[in-house]
């Protein structure tokens, strides 16, 4: 049966102790940030106004939460019913991912309490950041509605649960539109700074790069998290999730491989478009090759091998490399290859406190995710709603 109670365990396991320590440190730093200002905890400066809170928490956070739209589109729009078991975990991760992106943003915004301004009284539609804000706000709403049935099921509110179920198609389509727009807009943010971003990373295709790469990012997160929860949350899963996961891994591997290859080709078209070949001979060129060959082409091949040999272990390694590659790419665009002309002493490196706040937010997100996976019908169907799909 799906609802086997977890065997009573000690609460203060090593993992929980570490979590608690990080959360306490994070709370102290949160107080410091909001009482003494951004400058008190970060290395942000007039030359480097955006650090890891934007480069990692926002850019990577949004890209890695792309599993929501990719999985729901595959299952509900393209009729790949065999991936159905991946939908609920993917929606959960995406919803929490976006919620924590917005939460993290509050640390970075000087006047966080005005976050609704661009969407309400002072819209600035010439800005890519406006589009990011609008789409993320709307998509977070879509994800909240898609996530809500897990709560209604626990509460036993059948009527509203079925009402939301009826909206599935509309929500899925709306979700894909919004994701296309804001995933690409995050790349679009940097279009306005050609003089600051290294030519190997600056391209008029930046929005396309960001959108394309978000697809394997989302697929890889589904594989990565699925594999991990199979290992650690096995007792929470029902038959569908036990047996349905293998086709998810292999099918998603195939898709990720194809899109990674398209992305790999596009990256070279980007280099050719602006005739940046000469930059490849420099140190920056070497770093670019590390990213494009080591973290795009290599996982692309690994995924292809995994799909062909039906090897889930290889797929797991490929997913780790893809996720690492996405993080590397977003950090390159936002921090590492940004301001590359500045003298070394003016370059940015995150402060310890800035770094700890990011660790705090990620830990908080994982903690909430753990609670959701344990308490909500995500890895198994709720007995009362077994045949609802």
């Amino acid at each position: 049966m799906a609802h086997v109670a977890t065997p009573s365990k000690k609460f203060w396991t090593p993992a929980n102790i570490i979590t608690a320590i990080i959360l306490v440190i994070g709370l102290v730093l949160t107080v410091k940030r909001f009482s003494m200002g951004i400058g008190a905890v970060s290395n942000l400066s007039d030359d480097n106004p955006w650090g890891i809170w934007i480069g990692f928490d926002l850019l990577c956070g949004v890209a890695l939460a792309a599993g929501g739209y990719t999985t729901t589109a595959a299952v509900y729009l393209f009729g790949m019913k065999k991936y159905h078991s991946a939908v609920r975990p993917a929606i959960t991760t995406a919803f929490l991912g976006y919620a924590f992106v917005v939460f993290a943003l509050l640390y970075d915004l000087g006047r966080y309490y005005r976050l609704p301004y661009p969407l309400t009284i002072y819209p600035g539609p010439t800005s890519f950041l406006f589009e990011v804000g609008l789409c993320v706000a709307l998509y977070l709403t879509v994800l909240a509605i898609e996530f809500s049935p897990f709560l209604w099921e626990v509460l036993g509110w059948a009527k509203i649960r079925h009402l939301v179920h009826k909206l599935t198609l509309a929500l899925t389509i709306f979700g894909v539109i919004l994701s296309t727009l804001h995933q690409s807009s995050l790349g679009g943010l940097y279009l306005i700074a050609p003089s600051k971003l290294h030519p190997l990373w600056y391209s008029i295709y930046l929005p396309l790069f960001f959108f394309l790469s978000s697809i394997p990012a989302g697929l890889s997160m589904v594989i990565l998290e699925g594999t991990l929860s199979h290992k650690y949350l096995n007792h929470k899963m029902d038959e569908e999730h036990h047996h349905g996961f293998s086709p998810v891994v292999l099918g998603f591997s195939k898709a990720a491989s194809v899109v990674l290859f398209a992305y790999f080709c596009m990256k070279w078209i980007g280099v050719a478009m602006d005739n940046n070949w000469s930059h490849l001979g420099t140190g920056w060129g070497l770093w670019f090759l590390v990213e494009v060959l080591g973290f795009v082409l290599l996982p692309c091949i690994l995924y292809a091998v995994a799909a062909r040999e039906k090897n889930e272990r290889v797929a797991f390694y490929a997913s780790i490399m893809t996720v690492a590659g996405i993080i590397l790419n977003r950090l390159n665009v936002s921090i590492i290859a940004f301001n590359w002309r500045l003298p070394a002493e003016a370059r940015y490196f995150p402060s310890l406190e800035e770094f700890l706040i990011t660790v705090f937010i990620v830990t908080l997100e994982i903690t909430v995710l753990r609670i959701c996976l344990n308490k909500l019908p995500i890895l198994h169907q709720h007995p009362q709603f077994r045949d609802a799909h």
């Binding site: 951004i38 729009l77 279009l191 930046l206």
Partner: protein, 351 residues
């Protein structure tokens, strides 16, 4: 039916929002307000006295610096603008001689900061100044990312109401008919205030009259679509730490093309996605129909087979029945014959 209406409304809402976005980004070329003001900086006249810095500090009521403004030792270090320093003078060296350059906001004709700001806190004023409205600012600092001249600065240590800070071109003073603080304070005439068009003429005239003194380039005439602050110099601008690779594309045009794709996505994606959904559904329907058809056919075939078998069995039974009857008849005939023969034999014996 209901679902379709709902999707239609969603798509419509998205499209109208997106069109608004693209429309505002615009495809028009703005060449600056007519009669807007500017300042011409002539590096051949600047002596690095920092009087402009002092005046700026006083006019804008900024906090006093650690070292007084007449301490020229700060010139030895490269400095940039800060939240309490709207303008700085830097010293450079060319052919062993010192050259000075003042930096502050260049007040672009089409400012990157205004284009990047998602709440419209920056505005190009008819006076030529690029103004900043702290009452709108959310503090995202995208303006600082966007500015190619690295001018806007931030009050990082203010936890509640931090502001972006930069030169205002002394817009309030201009409106009062006064000169910007720095221009008024310059003892050497290295700064000239006036209408941008006139400043360009003055600059051209100086270069024409003294080609041996000046580089033949007015920095700011074209850079990033043009700025209201203009520079002429006796040394290459690169020596003065000024980027010569910025190009002449106004910043808003860097994003116009990509933003214009938004309505296309909003318009086309729903069509493709509902199409994909419809195709999937149709495939499923056809598959179901084919399955039903195949089942039907199989059932029919099985039935026919069974009927054939039954008929064969019936026929066989019939044949067997007939054979049995024949046998019985034959047997009866034989018996009758035998009986007749017996009777004949008996009658013969009697005779």
């Amino acid at each position: 039916m209901k679902r379709r209406t709902f999707i239609g409304i969603l798509a419509g809402a998205g499209a109208s929002l997106a069109t608004g976005t693209a429309g505002a980004a615009g495809n028009h070329h703005f060449t600056g307000y007519p009669d807007s003001y500017g300042v011409l900086f002539d590096s051949t006249k600047c002596i690095g006295c920092r009087k402009c810095e002092a005046a700026c500090n006083a006019v804008n009521e900024l906090p006093k610096p650690e070292l007084p403004f007449d301490d020229l030792s700060v010139l030895e270090k490269r400095r940039r603008t800060h939240h309490d320093t709207f303008t700085v003078v830097n010293k450079y060296e060319y052919n062993g001689k010192p050259v000075f350059r003042k930096i502050q906001c260049n007040h672009c004709q089409e400012p990157a900061c205004a284009s990047a700001c998602f709440v419209g806190a920056f505005k190009k004023e008819p006076t030529g100044a690029v103004s900043y409205d702290a009452s709108r600012c959310v503090g995202c600092r995208y303006c600082m990312i966007a500015c190619p001249f690295e001018i806007p600065t931030y009050e990082y240590h203010d936890p509640i109401t931090p502001r972006v800070r930069k030169c205002t071109m002394c817009q309030p003073r201009i409106l009062e008919g006064k000169l910007p603080g720095c221009v008024e304070a310059c003892p050497k005439g290295a700064l000239v205030f006036g209408h941008r068009d006139e400043l360009l003429q003055i600059a051209r005239e100086r270069i024409r009259k003294h080609p041996e003194l000046y580089v033949n380039h007015i920095y700011g005439e074209q850079e990033m679509g043009g700025t209201n602050w203009l520079y002429i110099s006796g040394v290459p601008f690169e020596i003065l730490g000024m980027r010569e690779d910025l190009g002449i594309t106004p910043a808003p045009q860097l994003t116009t093309g990509a933003l214009s794709v938004v309505p296309a996505v909003v318009g086309l994606w729903p069509m493709f996605l509902t199409g994909a959904y419809a195709i999937t559904k149709r495939k499923e329907k056809i598959a179901a129909e084919e399955r039903a058809h195949a089942v039907q056919k199989a059932v029919a075939e099985a039935e026919a087979e069974a009927a054939k078998k039954l008929a064969a069995a019936l026929e066989k039974a019939e044949r067997e029945k007939q054979a049995a009857i024949d046998r019985e008849v034959k047997k009866a005939l034989k018996e009758a014959e035998e009986a007749r023969k017996k009777a004949e034999a008996a009658s013969e014996g009697e005779e």
